[in-house]
Symmetry: C2
Subunit: 452 residues, 2 copies
Amino acid sequence: MSLAKVIAPDIEELIRENPQELASAVAAIHPADLAELLDDLPREDRIVLFEALPVDQGAAVLSGLKGETLRLILHTASPTKLGPMLDRLPPDDVTNLLEHLTQRQREAILARMSARDAAEVERLQRYPPRTAGRLMTIKFATIRPEWTAAETLGHLKRIDPEVETVQSLYAVDDAGRLVGYVALRRLFPAPPDRKIADMMERRLITVRPDTDQEEVARLVSKYDVHAIPVVDENQKLLGIVTVDDVIDILIEEQTQDVLHLGGVSATEEEVEQGYFAAKPWRNVRLRFNWLLLLFVTETLTGTVLRHYEDEIAKVVALSFFIPLLIGTGGNSGSQTVTTIVRGLAVGEIRLRDFGRVLMREGGSGLVLGILLGIVGFGRALLWGSTMPLALTVGVSILVICAWANTVGAMIPMLATMFKIDPTVMSAPLIATLVDATGLIIYFTIAKSFLGL
Amino acid sequence: MSLAKVIAPDIEELIRENPQELASAVAAIHPADLAELLDDLPREDRIVLFEALPVDQGAAVLSGLKGETLRLILHTASPTKLGPMLDRLPPDDVTNLLEHLTQRQREAILARMSARDAAEVERLQRYPPRTAGRLMTIKFATIRPEWTAAETLGHLKRIDPEVETVQSLYAVDDAGRLVGYVALRRLFPAPPDRKIADMMERRLITVRPDTDQEEVARLVSKYDVHAIPVVDENQKLLGIVTVDDVIDILIEEQTQDVLHLGGVSATEEEVEQGYFAAKPWRNVRLRFNWLLLLFVTETLTGTVLRHYEDEIAKVVALSFFIPLLIGTGGNSGSQTVTTIVRGLAVGEIRLRDFGRVLMREGGSGLVLGILLGIVGFGRALLWGSTMPLALTVGVSILVICAWANTVGAMIPMLATMFKIDPTVMSAPLIATLVDATGLIIYFTIAKSFLGL
């Protein structure tokens, strides 16, 4: 149970009755818990509590806020309160926070910050959103290759206290170009007169400021590094992206993929805004495009059925099984497409595995089809269907399952081959594609088995 | 383009013609790229290349391998090669690697490792899989609260070179109990005679060795820390979980959620194994349970349709729209359930938002229903349907969309309320539930509009 849950009502009471004790009542609460607590308060109380916080605590809470509460605080708290708090935060965090504001609000807050910090924030804002340039911290520790281990350790005593991490120390030459790095833990046991140049790792994993943040996350995860240096075209060190920023990207990216698979085409910006922040009509607009596409595709099923009008008129019972057959095809196809898209995303499946994947999924579909076909055959007999109709249902299920699985495996792989993001091949799309073809399979089998 | 892609054929040629030059040819390749390269080679060549690597490089490659290639190497490479490599890896990594092996294979490899490292690995193996105990590194730097800053920095020169991180230094008392920690970057600028006790952070975020790894990941992300100490019931420090391990968990957990939403009930173990590792029949068995449940639920549609047999016989054209109507309901419900499940997972939606979410999704459904209803009405007229039938279709789409959205929003929230994992409320399940009810809506409207 979270701490925040326990005390939200007490805080509300305090705001009503003893507002001057607010700051001391929450002084010992971890900023991350305090951010959660703010979420639980009524909107007007959130501002009261936030404005009661001392600068340091407020700054820490600010960097833990998200979604609705974050926007509320940024829009309503006074710039005189916010300015000094933002001064305490790393420039990259400030840049991200200011993205939620209008140009005018941004300027009002920047004017309340120290000139140096404001200039740094404005520099970062020039990089496009969702790139390494926006994520990077510009407060990092650099060292020189000609220094000894002892000199380097001595230098660390004089570094800017705002430096975010000293886990890796980046060695730059006279022109500020990155030439190597040393892990701090390797520095301690080194002989004091050992030169950095003789112990540094020269094999560098770097990115450019305009590298997409997803690529940065991929590199951090692949190379298992704690930070990635950002360099310009001359290899000049501009900043570093640390692993904690990467965790946030992974969660955002994950959300986007899940939504795509569910047939919601959210952009990165919308994902970052969160559920309640998006305007309802925007939510409708996003979903409508997809639904309309699926709807139009789905009207194919009507065309197919009109084609078999005479058969349905003769054996009305044929229509009873339509939702069952296409539903089963859709469900089975959804399972496959989810599995394959995910396998492609994490790199477990690659394009050269195409044939193997198709065999595997087609085979699973066949086995699942046989099992469900038997169940469907039995169910049809129980409903009093004739033997030929029950057989039609059973065999159709078998063929549709195998077909749906094959389509569900093939389409995301073809998408990848043509450089289309496979998560766009959502489960609903596969289900819709399988519906019309599934009906053709069903009526073809019915015509032959029932002699129509 | 990855480095690995460029040189895989060259490596194959080298293996055929000049195997003794293999090690020097790949000496400069980053272990993470080498791990990818191994994946691209034919199976028999993977072993040849791996066994040609020097111990250090081999160890680094080993910790970057996953899925099929990892199992292949662990099962086929000789224990005399593997033992010394595993000696170079942190015990938590070794424990995870050995999980892929049988008890006998494990013992053969442990026997080839140094006695001390093997003992550590065996100790970690006693914690249940997927807990903090399994993830934690037991090589960490501890300090004492009574030390001065200068003493502490001096001590770091004598620490075990295998210590994974010195970013945070954990202060323990005489009994080994964790009492606080100091960020290393705060230590450097501190006055040399300042006591650790006077500068350490005493507000500790800790976990127990049996804490689930997902909870550990949640804490790291929430509190924005680089490592979480693992303590026993007496607060004795047992190890630390570092952020790089947490990234791997996030990716695994994400995979599991995506699969659940797609109607594949994979366990954590299966997710970890990867796509190709799972035996095909196992894949079938997992999916069959879900498909059968959905199938049986879907047979409800047959019951509904049999009930309206007379109406269908009178107006066969009614059946043409069945797949379109239930398909649209299913697609729209899938979109909603995905959005809500994700919102719940990342904490953007909480239970107290129930009413708000329902209003929002029901409202979106209504608007989407009106838009698609108009399209459906027009389409039906174009197909030559009578005006009452076209109206039936249009109004049914409207009602079904609003209904599907409401169900899609309500079910995951109810699941959460009853402490059921909402990702289990997969999109296929919602689609199936909406199918039968959608048909009742359709035929009720049809009977009234068409006067049947």
